[in-house]
Amino acid sequence: METIEDSGRTARPLLSIRGLQKHFPLKGGLLGRTLAVVRAVDGVEFDVRDGETLGIVGESGCGKSTTARLLMRLMEPDAGTMLFEGRAVEESAGGLTLREYRRQVQMVFQDSYASLNPRLTIEETIAFAPRVHGLSASEAIERARELLAAVGLAPENFARRYPHELSGGQRQRINIARALALRPKLVILDEPVSALDKSVEAQVLNLLLDLKAEFGLTYVFISHDLNVVQYISDRVLVMYLGEVVEMGPVGAIYDRPGHPYTRALLDSRPSMDPAKRRTTPPLTGDPPNPVNPPSGCRFRTRCPYADAVCAERKPIMADLGDGHVVACHMASAGSGHPLAGRLYEAPLAEMVA
């Protein structure tokens, strides 16, 4: 289906996700009946290749953080399969147990303070997981000190301190060090720099790139900040209301976005140049509620090119070549959309719905 670049590594994806689904029932009333269902993640499929950084972007309610938690198995998916290095993540014969899986996959959260235990010193925090996984106390402490040095915090100054004695940027470095303590292959970063000031954000991004090279890591990088995702990602996945609408190499997504939503999202970035101020917003209204998503294409209620077919049928993933796929009726010839097969003829300038 897609060409896989020869990176000198194995061609099999590190992590392969198929048909991932998570719905949250909204209960209410006297009997606690299910009144509605939030379709937070609805049939998401993608691969994470060994050694790459996969960026996931989307607005609030698009399901990107739920996806992160499902990847980490912090919650059980309703449906879908997850293969890590070709092995199913499940308690069955030949399967990868959660304990084994989590040795390989670790996570960094947005809130650097809430994700640290305030009663543990920094080195105890980092040494905790290696201890649980069988290292001796002295080995675990030694590894913690190595990692502190690797994230740029001198162990002699920081090892014995507590989270409240550190700044936000330093705490996020601790979280990163802790995530690396089990020598994982894959690190899921859920908005890791969103709460940081700009000057600190740049430091942490540089650090993430250094660590990736040093430890041979693979990243899933989730963010609402399109500039940061462009900077750090090799491939980008765009989500809208629980579904993947577009995915591809970072250059293709940012230079030739296919899906009208991706175009609007990229077009919403402030220009940084006062001479190029916009006068009309690319989209009107807020993202709809994922409780009752629109039928067919979920973006059709805000899409300037929406046609009858968009309400009737869900678009299939169309291949634009080079691993760039987009779920839009305009991208697949014969879909019945007036602009079917002529995606890029839909003018960018008329993005006002």
Binding site: E59, S167, S199, V200, H224, Q230, S268, M272, G285
Partner: protein
């Protein structure tokens, strides 16, 4: 100390040597250490800074919204009135009619137990003594002004029933209820999604032009400043370190901190390059800085940086920076 920033005889806002310290039993924080700012009527000024730079405290001082234990000194004049000298009663009138504020989180600024329509109408009744029916009509007008779709129906909505973008618009409508001359905005778009943020920015810009308001907009986001500001003031450690028209500042910042901030901001075209960073962290401000507060992090630091707080100099008319490296061309 207080250089006259603009020749305009009666600016809408005139801050002179504003100082704010927060003294608690445990520690004292010198949040603002001598800020001079002017804002002309109808002008949009962005105060740009990172957390702890004193930008929000400066904004709150303009409306006297700081907690009781804050010690405030310096001249604060808004629309020709001395804010420091106002009684509680005068302040209650001043807030809403002369100056209004919008916040980052509308859910905490709006009252959850009253409908949007009631909250706007109440403001109009309270300040203008209008009758209930006149006030209700104004509420509808205001919701239409901030472009809330189906405005009539939304009058009866409670804040929790609105989406984030609509809530932010409703808060703007409340702030504009009595046609303030000055609108203060404290990161009003930071919590919003990208496609909604640009809508609210464009709305604020449009309203500002239509109602000819002065706006002071606090943000940490350079892109937001680029989209909305006429002038930008960059704050660091409780002082304005650079100030000038937005285009010049974004194209070529004078102060090393502003240069660092611009360099550290991730934007398109940086892929594959190492990001420039500002080493270290801002000072804790337990003491008011007596030298250049940025000197411990500055790549160009030299001896005279440590001897006193650098004065504001103006190498080109309309632009100023507080750095010994920036010459005085004026």
């Amino acid at each position: 100390m207080s250089a006259v920033l603009k020749p305009d005889p009666a600016p809408l806002v005139r801050l002179r040597d504003l100082k704010v310290t927060f003294a608690t039993r445990d520690r004292t924080v010198h949040a603002v250490n001598g800020v001079d700012l002017d804002l002309a009527a109808g002008e949009v000024l962005c105060i740009l800074g990172e957390s702890g730079s004193g930008k929000s405290v400066t904004l709150r001082a303009l409306m006297k919204l700081l907690p009781k234990f804050a010690r405030v000194s310096g001249g604060i004049e808004v629309a020709g009135k001395d804010v420091n000298a106002m009684s509680e009663r005068q302040l209650a009138n001043f807030r809403g009619t002369d100056v209004a504020m919008v916040f980052q989180e509308p859910m905490t600024a709006l009252d959850p137990v009253f409908t949007i329509g009631r909250q706007i109408a109440e403001t109009v009744q309270r300040h203008e003594g209008a009758s209930r029916s006149v006030a209700n009509a104004r509420a509808l007008e205001l919701l239409e002004l901030v472009q809330i779709p189906s405005a009539k129906r939304r009058l009866d909505a409670y804040p929790h029933e609105l989406s984030g973008g609509l809530r932010q618009r409703a808060m703007i409508a409340v702030a504009l209820a009595c046609r303030p001359k000055l609108l203060l905005a404290d990161e009003p778009t930071t919590a919003l999604d990208a496609t909604v943020q640009i809508q609210v920015l464009l709305l604020l810009r449009e309203l500002q032009e239509r109602l000819d308001m002065g706006v002071i907009f606090v943000t940490h986001d350079l892109g937001v400043a680029g989209e909305i500001a006429d002038r930008v003031a960059v704050m660091y450690a409780g002082r304005v370190v650079e100030e000038g028209p937005v285009a010049g500042l974004m194209a070529g910042p004078l102060h090393p901190y502003a240069q660092g901030l611009l360099g550290a901001t991730v934007h398109a075209g940086l892929r594959g390059q190492r990001l420039t960073t500002i080493p270290g962290a801002p000072p804790t401000l337990e003491m008011a800085p007596t030298d250049c507060a940025f000197s411990p992090r500055c790549p160009h630091v030299r001896e005279d940086c440590l001897q006193r707080v650098p004065p504001l100099t103006s190498p080109v008319p309309g632009r100023q920076a507080r750095c010994v490296l920036v010459g005085d061309g004026a």
